[in-house]
């Protein structure tokens, strides 16, 4: 029988399960074609959960140590909830028929994927981890093709699905070797096994790494990202670009760093190499992009590279800095996507040229976009700066100066394309007059992101401390 400890450990999952049921039932109960009220229910529910998550305290491991509600898990879940709330809020105003009539499915899929993330963040068992991973992934395939009448959307869904399934197979294949090598699916046992000497374990961890690398979209596992981001509905993409990535990172930490001690350093060169490739490729490929979403997709890949820099440090501070990075990335990247959504709804175009003269048409929206871009570019006084700085700091502490230099120099390339967007907004004249109309919920979501970016930019300390606190027990 589940005791109070178990309840404590599962409170968020139980809450989310209840919300799923509620949404399901509500969806059944609604008459008529307009089911957008489901979105409100889901949003409020996520908001309540988000508040709850800040009351949740770590609990001892449950289910024979398979499931753990530690600081890292709670940190990650808060992040998922905030990101999900912003994403749901932004899609509330979406009046496309698919969203109006199929709001039930949409929100059920998002919430179930969120459930997968929740469990993934807490999973300390390979089987649970894999199932959670799949629970997180499969709804995403569906969601990316949610606009099933659009040629691009379904194409994107197929690509996402194919690459995702192959990666899942690779992941499962790797996990099977891990299990075979250590005769246990418990991550604590895996961590205690002697790694490099055991070829099966090495093979398993490498193959599994490829699977995770797909999820976080590291080069060259990233290739689904631009197409999917470009074609799927923007609020969903905003969410897709942050939440599953964060979950992927948490899983990476669990499998590769938690409890392994000094062995963590064996991953350093590999991850550093992958980070370099990802940063370079992401930034270079972003350069020629004319579609803002695609540009942000590639820039997002580069950001994953920066997070991998923190991972490569293979230290508690490195993990903490990646977590911090993820939070700033949630606000900065989601914000940028949401502004694209706002402009695209008004202008009917996602090209960077749609931003021409935005500063003179809607100065506040332009300013918000500028802030997001600066944050993504790693400019001081907005959150992204600290994020980059901290991962660099972590990498430098681990002696990876060359990696820091590569990362820092490539930041300059990144600024090029961010500044191109800034140029469109601030330097070029508008093509037509008039303000850009933004729906209230979308505006609120953008505002939340601005708030996050600015507050973290001005006062990053509490979050940094929290991240350090939750990452310390991993080692």
């Amino acid at each position: 029988m589940p005791g109070p400890d178990v309840v404590r450990a599962f409170v968020l999952e139980i809450g989310l399960g209840a919300l799923l049921l509620l949404v399901f039932v509500a969806n059944l109960g609604i008459r008529g074609a307009d089911r957008r009220v489901v979105g409100w229910i889901a949003s409020w529910g996520v908001l309540v959960l988000a508040f709850t998550s800040f009351l949740v305290r770590p609990a001892p491991p449950a289910l024979d140590g398979m499931f753990v509600q530690d600081g890292l898990a709670i940190f990650a879940k808060r992040l998922f909830l905030v990101a999900t709330f912003i994403g749901l809020l932004a899609s509330l105003g979406n009046a496309q028929p698919a969203f109006v009539r199929r709001a039930g499915e949409y929100h059920l899929l998002i919430l179930s994927s969120l459930l997968g993330m929740f469990v993934l963040a807490s999973a300390r068992d390979l089987i649970l981890l894999f199932v959670a991973f799949e629970l997180m992934s499969i709804p995403l395939y569906v969601l990316s093709g949610f606009l099933k009448r659009q040629e691009e959307a379904v194409e994107a869904a197929l690509k996402f699905f194919l690459v995702g399934s192959v990666s899942s197979a690779v992941l499962a294949y790797g996990l099977s070797f891990v299990y075979g090598a250590v005769r246990s699916t418990n991550l604590a046992t895996v961590a205690r096994a002697s790694a490099a000497t055991e070829p099966l374990l090495a093979l398993g961890l490498l193959a599994a790494f490829a699977g995770f690398a797909f999820k976080i979209a590291a080069f060259p596992f990233h290739m689904w990202v631009p197409d999917t981001y470009e074609a799927a509905s923007t609020p969903f993409v905003a969410w897709l670009s942050v939440a599953p990535k964060a979950a992927g990172f948490v899983a990476l930490f669990r499998v590769y760093l938690e409890g392994v001690g000094d062995r963590a350093a064996t991953w350093m060169p590999l991850v550093a190499g992958l980070a370099t490739l990802t940063i370079v490729a992401g930034n270079l490929m972003a350069l020629p992009q004319q579609n803002t979403k695609r540009l942000l997709a590639y820039s997002g890949i580069a950001h994953i590279g920066y997070m991998l820099v923190g991972f490569a440090a293979a230290s508690a501070s490195g993990v903490a800095m990646v977590l911090f990075y993820l939070v700033t990335y949630v606000f900065g990247n989601m914000g940028a996507f949401l502004v694209v959504e706002a402009v695209a709804r008004s202008e009917g175009s996602e090209a960077t040229t749609a931003f021409r003269g935005l500063a003179q048409r809607s100065p506040l929206l332009a300013l918000a976009m500028l802030i997001f871009l600066l944050s993504l570019g790693g400019i001081p006084f907005v959150a992204g700066f600290w994020a980059k700085l901290y991962v660099f700091w972590a990498a430098a502490s681990a002696g990876l100066y060359w990696l820091v230099l590569v990362g820092a120099v490539l930041t300059v390339v990144a600024l090029f394309y961010y500044l191109v967007v800034a140029k469109r907004m601030y330097i070029e004249p508008p093509e037509r007059p008039g303000r850009v109309q933004v729906s209230a919920t979308l505006a609120l979501a953008v505002l939340l992101c601005v708030g996050g970016v600015v507050v973290l930019g001005v006062y990053p300390k509490p979050l940094v401390m929290a991240a350090l606190r939750v990452s310390a027990p991993l080692f």
């Binding site: 649970l128 569906v142 093979l203």
Partner: protein, 164 residues
């Protein structure tokens, strides 16, 4: 040569042959049938590994279930398109090289595994223990799987229905 060894070689040949057939045959329908053969051969491998329960699962749930869906899909698309279900391959050499490369990579690790790993003694039918594990420590996992299946169904339905 024990029975198991002989069985292994036979099954291995069948499995690999049918697998190759899956990826090489031009007729999609045949490919599906070869996949069924491969899956059955896999089931036999499970039998060789003393896991009759999984053999059953493989046969019933997997082979039959998957086959049904696939055939259904082929029929559906064929009906829509009204043409022969042939399929061609692209960049066979490239694909072969890369796939071989991956295999060599894996094999590179496998050859370093000690050959003499003994097979653990058989402990009777594992099926009840399996059941206990599923409702014990893996209860949450099982529940999640349930959600997963529901959601997958939901998604599949969402795509498959022709309304709107």
């Amino acid at each position: 040569m024990t029975l198991e060894t002989a069985g292994f070689w036979v099954v291995a040949v069948v499995l690999l042959a049918s697998s190759l057939a899956v990826v090489l045959t031009p007729n999609l329908f045949h490919a599906v049938l070869y996949l069924a053969a491969a899956l059955v051969a896999t089931g036999v491998v499970f039998l060789l590994l003393d896991s009759p329960f999984l053999f059953a699962v493989q046969l019933l749930l997997y082979a039959v279930g998957v086959m049904a869906i696939v055939v259904f899909a082929i029929m559906l698309t064929e009906r829509l398109v009204g043409e022969r279900i042939t399929q061609t391959s692209r960049h066979l050499v490239n694909g072969g090289v890369v796939a071989a490369g991956v295999f060599i990579g894996i094999a590179g690790f496998l050859i370093r595994v000690p050959r003499s790993l003994p097979r653990a003694p058989l402990v009777g039918d594992a099926t009840p223990a399996l059941g206990r594990a599923l409702v014990g420590p893996f209860a949450l996992t099982l529940e999640l799987l349930g959600v997963l299946l529901v959601v997958a169904l939901l998604g599949a339905l969402y795509f498959a229905r022709a309304d709107e």
